[in-house]
Symmetry: C2
């Protein structure tokens, strides 16, 4: 990332909004999508915020993503609904489906939406924060193109299938947003460009040895699943559930080029804490967080999941949001012209 530029939240939102409107999104949808994207950059998730917008616009121009498509309900036999994303904008489809799961959860205590035929949801944590802000537990995941060798294999046969688990807490939500590979290709490139080795083994080198060398893993295309055989197994079942419940594609049916990746399957589960449990829920979450609040082994602090996000959010809202220069210039070139 070429850094050094900071912008206000309003500037970022407005620039992304105009770029999306120029790419064909209806005004209201461009505004919402720009908010989700600006929120991601504000929270420090640059790789899945602004930095993904040029690719999204290229995919709209190439006809892979349909800027006009709206998701539709296919069936709804109770608290589980099946939706079709019609290859529309992934973030908007996902946001709509988590909102639907939340609405079902308010009626039934729990709601599940399975979404077929959608596109990259950008930052998965978006939909976890969305659920937590609504006072609900949110669990969601997506499948992806094949980018990860399952345990034992040398070829990328499964996806890194990011999963999000969010717990509402008035004093700071607990949110996990993680891909099932230990490091994304974006993260590997970052370590390489900074001349750093990985903090933990991240994949295999060309000789089949586990390594902390990011370039060796980029070359072998053998990143590691989290937990080795465990993350590999988890990737397979999450893909199966997403495809089976949505009736959509499994990872092995998704094209392997990043800008051809379309027709994804996703699952959104919401559990309404307010209606299903008593008021103790917030106190329980607070006590869990309080118990973790102590110095770490290396002299820092032990953090709860979501804590660093809030710290970054607060800092960037004051200092300005750091933006990648090339992504920013790309958007400015669209919106200023």
């Amino acid at each position: 990332m070429i850094t050094g530029v900071r912008v206000t939240y309003a500037e970022l939102h407005e620039t992304v909004r105009r770029a999306l409107e120029a790419a064909g999104l209806a005004p209201e949808r461009a505004g919402l999508c720009a908010r989700l994207i600006a929120d991601s950059s504000r929270d420090g998730v640059h790789s899945h915020g602004l930095n993904l917008v040029p690719r999204l616009i290229r995919m709209i121009r190439a006809g892979v993503v349909d800027a006009h498509a709206l998701p539709t309900r296919v069936s709804a036999p109770g608290a589980v609904e099946r939706w079709d994303g019609h290859r529309g904008v992934g973030a908007l489809n996902a946001y709509h489906c988590m909102a639907t799961a939340l609405a079902i959860a308010r009626r039934h205590g729990i709601g599940c939406v399975a979404l077929a035929n959608t596109n990259h949801w950008m930052r998965g944590g978006t939909y976890g924060w969305q659920a937590a802000e609504a006072g609900a537990i949110g669990i969601c995941w997506t499948n992806t193109l094949p980018n990860l060798p399952p345990w034992g294999a040398a070829e990328p046969l499964v996806g890194n299938n990011p999963i999000v688990v969010a717990v509402p807490r008035p004093n700071g939500h607990l949110v996990v947003d993680m891909a099932l590979s230990q490091f994304s290709y974006g993260a590997l490139a970052g370590y390489r460009s900074r001349g750093e080795t990985l903090p933990v083994p991240g994949g295999f080198d060309g000789r089949g040895e586990m390594t902390r060398d990011p370039a060796a893993i980029e070359a072998s295309k053998r990143p590691l699943p989290i937990g080795f055989w465990k993350g590999s197994a988890l990737s397979i079942v999450l893909d199966a559930i997403a495809a089976m419940l949505s009736g959509g594609r499994a990872t092995h049916q998704i094209a392997a080029g990043p800008e051809e990746e379309t027709g994804l399957s996703q699952v959104f589960i919401a559990i309404d804490v307010a209606s299903t449990v008593d008021r103790d829920a917030a106190a329980i979450a607070d006590a869990i967080v309080a118990h973790l609040d102590r110095p770490s082994a290396d002299g820092g602090i032990v953090r709860y999941p979501g804590q660093r996000t809030l710290e970054t959010r607060r800092r960037q809202l004051v200092e300005g949001i750091e933006v990648d220069l090339s992504s920013w210039q790309f958007l400015r070139s669209i919106t200023v012209s």
Copy 2:
């Protein structure tokens, strides 16, 4: 494990059943619990089958586990129910709660049961296979005593909170059953007693360096979460959800000795595949498995989660079920006297 003894399924079931009845379980409950335990040993999960029975019986005798307690429904506002396990037999409480989640799922498409005040559920996979056999997706997890340092900490502040995800497939269910530590203490002891190093880093040694030496990790009490910071974060949110939904204890409130570990919180989610999706579900799962069916990098085969369990099950039903001699003799001493 001192091996060398093989018994038939019927012998194993009957011996466990009689031991549990002698420990105070009502006849029908002893029979069901013995089936769950014998199934675990049959499937090769010795550590969480027969080998846990002596400890269960000691905990009943010590009054930590109440052999007579039955779980009761506390509240049921829709498709989410809260149950109290009354510190009864963990495996029976868990089996009952997954059965309840399955019944809710048949009505609503999805069902969730949160269980407070229960005990060790033995093999978590039991409840995944239970859901899959009923034609449903099953997702469940438990919290545990504090046995795992969260990322950054040197003390065991969080649990290894096993999670199970099961997908029904007529040609062989897909079942993941995994603790969130990379290796359990039982697994570490096994590697150490065989004089083996771990296949991947499993924890920190006394100097804070990552190591494959099982004895060094047993000494430091610093096993690794799966995916390092990722599994650590997942452990925290799963604990929070289980405690918040059930109204029960979080890990930091659970006594740290294995035979004092009680008052656990668990979550059981079932999604009814038959009523929520069309018949394509089985074909989708079959295609995912077929795509993985190829030679592995080391000349073996790539397996889907659950495949090895079925292989072991078939083999042990023919050859007899391997039993740990000391556990077997302990049970025989109870049941023969």
